[in-house]
């Protein structure tokens, strides 16, 4: 097998993995702490991409656009929490699902009205557009490497925030017993709002990072949200560490499956049969992995301790 190709595909898989983590970590935090199912999380990811694209054209700088878009997405997340999520906390999950499904329709159609049906590409500045040579004869795009670095930084930042800061301590306490935290004099409502805005910002960041590669488009949120669900189910809902491990696992399996499964199948079946069945199997691979893991560990790889 061609090892250069393998290395590049592994890096692509890592890139998908860190993006999935950025989306899934917000979902898993919001669910783990607020017990709230947010289907519209993918729409916030999409909004991140669109807002960043527009600002890039206004400011003529991609990096500046990101810096400005992050607080905007955070505020959108906060407003979303205030008007839709907060009234629904006391309801059952069915109402969460329906309410946020309505929010998806509203946000997606609003984006359609504002930005039009076509996608918006984001031009990269020259210093990000090149290739970096990481070994002899192996070059990878600078920007993809940057995505991996930024994603990993955000991931470790989040793990640090949750595990080693006062805010993180409150978040974990709120997850295990919110009534007790409130009784100890912590404003649980603003804590929830902060967590929600934080999750939205992370998802928005993922959208901003992927936009220069795939362009900002209307369906992008709904495409990633299901995969993000698979990630948090596999990782164990509520566990940031689980989301991290599962995101990298799913990212790698999905990318490598699409790239190499037909070669693998050719070893033990005819070429035509392999070429016909490989796309079907690789498109289902992550769901099959999910099914496999759930049959052994119904609560995911790292189930959070019971409250």
């Amino acid at each position: 097998m061609d090892y250069t190709l393998l290395l590049i595909q592994v890096l692509n898989g890592l890139q998908l993995g860190v993006l999935l983590f950025l989306v899934a970590s917000g979902l898993t935090l919001v669910f783990g702490i607020l017990d709230f199912v947010n289907l519209a999380h993918g729409s916030i990811y999409m909004l991140g991409a669109f807002i960043c694209a527009s600002l890039t054209y206004v400011l003529e700088s991609y990096l500046l656009a990101i810096v400005l878009s992050l607080p905007i997405i955070g505020i959108i997340g906060y407003v979303f929490e205030l008007f839709l999520a907060r009234p629904l906390y006391a309801r059952d999950h069915l109402d969460h699902v329906l309410g946020t499904f309505g929010a998806i329709l509203v946000i997606d159609t609003a984006a359609h009205l504002i930005w039009g049906p076509a996608g918006i590409a984001i031009p990269l500045p020259d210093y990000l557009d090149g290739q970096i040579s990481i070994a002899e004869n192996i070059e990878i795009p600078t920007f993809r490497l940057l995505i991996i670095v930024v994603g990993l930084t955000a991931a470790f930042g989040l793990l640090w925030l949750v595990n080693f800061t006062r805010l993180g301590m409150l978040i974990r306490a709120g997850a295990s017993n919110r009534t007790m935290v409130a009784a100890l004099g912590i404003n649980i409502r603003s804590l929830f709002a902060i967590v929600f805005a934080l999750g939205a910002t992370l998802a928005g960041l993922a959208g901003m990072l992927i936009a220069p590669i795939t362009e900002a488009s209307l369906g992008m949120g709904n495409n990633i949200i299901i995969t993000a669900f698979v990630v948090i189910i596999v990782g164990g809902i509520g566990s940031v560490k689980g989301a991290f491990v599962a995101a990298l696992l799913i990212g790698l399996i999905d990318t490598l499956g699409r790239a190499f499964l037909d070669d693998l199948f050719k070893i033990f079946m005819s070429t035509t049969a392999a070429e016909n069945s490989a796309p079907a199997i690789s498109s289902m691979s992550i769901y099959l992995i999910m099914a496999l893991i759930l049959s052994f560990k119904p609560k995911g790889l790292f189930p959070p301790r019971l409250r």
């Binding site: 199912v37 839709l84 009234p87 699902v97 499904f101 309505g102 359609h112 009205l113 189910i233 769901y287």
Partner: protein
Amino acid sequence: MQFIRSFKFLVLVSLLVLPIFFNQIGMSFYLDLATRLCILAIAAVGLNLILGYGGMISFGHAAYLGIGAYAVGIPAHHWLYGGLDFLATTNGFMHITIAVVISGLFALLTGLICLKTKGVYFIMITMAFSQMAYYLFVSIEEYGGDDGLVINTRSEIPLITLDDPIQMFFVSFVSLIFFMWLIHLITNSNFGLILKGIKDNEARMISLGYNVYLHKLIAFVFSGIICGFAGVLLGNFMTFISPEMIDWSRSGELMFMVILGGVATVMGPLFGAIVFVILEEILSSITIYWHLPFGLLLIAVVLFFKGGLSSLLSK
């Protein structure tokens, strides 16, 4: 009570009579609308069995509609273009058999895994499995992939010509009545009572000695089969099937019908489907951005109406 009963009867009679009337005065559009309504209502009735009576919130029931429609499309495709001779047929009973077997198997295999989990896990896993079906059909080039598959010949059933819109409507209407009657029987049977008991208090049913997992699985499979049958009708009605019909937003619309109409009622899913189809028709005739007001309405229903339309009736 008398009033509600006669109201429900009136709805059913007008659902039968009005479309035929409009068709006779040359407005065949309303007949097609009513056919689509009946088919969606059957799927909603099927979903209601597990969502309403069993408390299992499945967000993946569009997959069964898709499987049913592909069970018409794929055999018809091979019948016309050759290949896979054992599958090539235009016989409607064969289509229904294939749809029932495949959707039942899909429900059984995914149900075995989904039902080990509860709550949010269950919602997300059913969603993920239906998306798996979506990507599966997208990736099969022979059946049109993303672009979908045109169904050139409708299912052939003795004495019935589905090419005739009025007969197509009658078949859908009668099927709907049949499944509502069946759900009425099931939910008043011993099995249905156990199912409702599981919804109310699963731990109690376990300690009473019932095999909860098995009862839920049977309901899950049966619900999938009903939606698979609705898919056969949908394929015949649209003469076209594409993976887009399996997309999870379709599942969301089915859930909307069940919730809006009122869960765990025989007529609820029908009311929900009526409101959904009429809303969709009115809103999309005003603006192509009809999802915006529809989404706002959905949020409003969730925030302000608990219990759906049926609860308004029974007040």
